[in-house]
């Protein structure tokens, strides 16, 4: 064994190098922890989260035309849309919309399939609930958007 590696071994150079790295990282400014409820994470535009059903802001009527493409595209078959034709406007309107959030894997295929931009996956991510009942969203819940459930003691 040549001298240099031997000396390095004797004076524990390899260990001291590692110790230096961990020592230098101790500065509190290096910490990357997010204190979640106080600090909110940055959510980017394309994030696929809470599903929403859009309404026309002027008239308040649903953009959904009950084409059933989302229900067909969904791999989990968790979307059920029923509609009837409005006799006045001759436009198909949804009457029953359910979206089973508990089975959703947020792949985004339904939003891709939607022909009118009615269904979209938004940036909301706080979808935890205390029970499974609230997981099946109806049309009103989808249009309103789900309120995050607050922690209860």
């Amino acid at each position: 064994m040549s001298l240099k590696p031997l000396l390095r071994k004797m004076f524990l150079v390899d260990l001291i190098k590692g110790l230096k790295v961990t020592f230098n990282y101790q500065a509190p400014s290096e910490a990357i922890t997010e204190q979640y409820p106080l600090e909110r994470p940055v959510i980017f535009e394309r994030f696929r989260g809470q599903p929403r059903l859009s309404v026309n802001p002027d008239t308040g009527e649903s953009l959904c035309i009950v084409c059933n493409l989302c229900a067909l595209a969904c791999p989990e078959q968790l979307i059920v849309v029923k509609g009837e034709r409005n006799p006045v406007t001759r436009r198909k309107e949804p009457v029953a919309w359910t979206y089973d959030l508990s089975r959703c894997m947020f792949c985004g295929l339904c939003a891709e399939a939607c022909s009118t931009d009615a269904l979209e996956l938004t940036q909301d991510y706080e979808m935890a609930l205390y029970s499974r009942e609230g997981m099946v969203l109806d049309q009103a819940a989808l249009e309103r958007g789900q309120e995050p459930t607050r922690y209860e003691k």
Partner: protein, 397 residues
């Protein structure tokens, strides 16, 4: 002074001796009176370092491993069967959930297999985007491996450094396709999403920032005498065994076999890029560590070239809305971070595959565990499980 002893190890194949059997024989009672030689230890599925729900039954002599038996299936979800009941486009998000630390690679393999079946090819821009994202994914997968492997061997800290830097990659994923882990990034025929504004800058920034960080990981581990002793000469696999067992990926390359599908059967636009395939000499845990570290460097090289040469144009080829491939079968494999990831699809001409089969690298690599750990100590078992880089979601599917 050698760094490790070999006197008590006999990890040679086919060796017989007291207690060494070719398979784990748990039923036969040892005839000797007061048998103090053997202990059957159940490692997992809740053991902290079996990377999920792997269960290994160890037959021990003191701390020496006489034999192992892997019991898998605790995470079985029937992904292949699900694939036979979904249309081609619908199955795409499911493959992300097999190897969930390298979901982009899974998606790439699946999309390419279906494209091969359809005889379409993704446009150049899509191919470059796919390469950038899969290489980022390779880095992130190797970072998870490095962190957990170091944690298994007892170094707590690299895990957090790795996850901090992985976060940057996940942010790029989230910005690009809207999800961090189960990305669903690619579609059959190309990509759905156009690169967002600042995608190139983000990738370059990551590459520039990542290389010094990689040196830092190495400072903590590569020369550290404890790390070297724990990994050198542990879990040796020679090239013949590797090939016989079908082991692929960094585990194979660490044994000295220069086999990387990115070079051997170039898919996507890998032939456009200049990169090297790192190989090891000894096929031990330390070599596998070095190979993976070097692979991260090479991935950075590929990402830089791909970002610089990102062509313009469409990002998705003309693919019918309802995918109905012609009758036939196809096998397509890519180099996933863990090894060869292959998809075998049989089409009967309908919208759903007739048969879907995945060749997961983790599952095949796991078969080498028994060969690698015989004659080693219990502490080496966790090191070897770590170095195989298995993801149980992919093993069990």
């Amino acid at each position: 002074m050698s760094d490790f002893e070999t006197d008590y190890r006999h990890a040679k194949p086919g060796q017989s001796g007291p207690g060494v059997t070719d398979y784990l024989d748990l039923d036969t009672k040892d005839e000797t009176f007061l048998d103090a030689t053997e202990l059957v230890l159940n490692m997992g599925p809740q053991h902290p370092s079996t990377h999920g729900v792997l269960r290994v039954i160890l037959k021990l002599d003191g701390e020496k491993v006489l034999g192992t038996e892997c019991i898998i299936g605790y995470l079985h979800r029937g992904v292949e069967k699900i694939g036979e009941h979904r249309t081609y486009a619908m199955f795409n998000p499911y493959v992300d959930r097999m190897d969930y630390v390298a979901s982009v690679s899974n998606g790439l393999g699946y999309c390419e297999a279906v494209e091969k079946l359809l005889s379409v090819e993704a446009p150049p821009r899509a191919q470059y985007l796919r390469v950038i994202l899969t290489e980022l994914c390779r880095i992130s997968s190797h970072q998870v491996w490095l962190g957990t492997h170091a944690l298994d061997i007892g170094a707590l800290t690299p895990l957090f450094y790795c996850f901090r830097d992985r976060e940057e990659i996940l942010k790029i994923f989230e910005k690009y396709c809207g999800a961090r882990l189960t990305t669903h990034a690619f579609r059959i025929g190309g990509c759905l999403y156009e690169a967002y504004d600042g995608f190139e800058q983000d990738c370059k920034k990551f590459c520039d920032a990542f290389l010094p960080k990689l040196d830092e990981y190495e400072e903590l581990l590569t020369t550290n005498r404890i790390w070297v002793r724990r990994t050198k000469g542990v879990g040796i696999l020679n090239p013949e065994d590797c090939i016989a067992l079908g082991v692929t990926g960094p585990v194979l390359r660490a044994s000295g076999v220069k086999w990387d599908l990115r070079k051997a059967q170039p898919y996507e636009s890998y032939k456009d890029f200049d990169f090297e395939i790192p190989t090891g000499l000894n096929g031990d845990t330390y070599d596998r560590y070095l190979v993976r570290i070097e692979e991260m460097r090479q991935s950075v090289r590929i990402i830089r070239q791909a970002v610089d040469g990102l062509p313009t144009g469409p990002i998705i080829a003309k693919v019918p809305k309802v995918i109905k491939p012609p009758v036939g079968e196809v096998y397509h494999s890519i180099e996933a971070p863990k090894g060869e990831l292959g998809y075998f699809i049989v089409s009967d001409g309908s919208t759903q595959p007739y048969r879907m089969r995945v060749r997961p690298p983790s599952f095949v690599n796991l078969q080498a565990l028994d060969k690698m750990v015989r004659g080693l100590l219990v502490a080496d078992v966790v090191a070897v499980i770590g170095t195989l880089d298995i993801v149980l979601g992919e093993v069990d599917r």
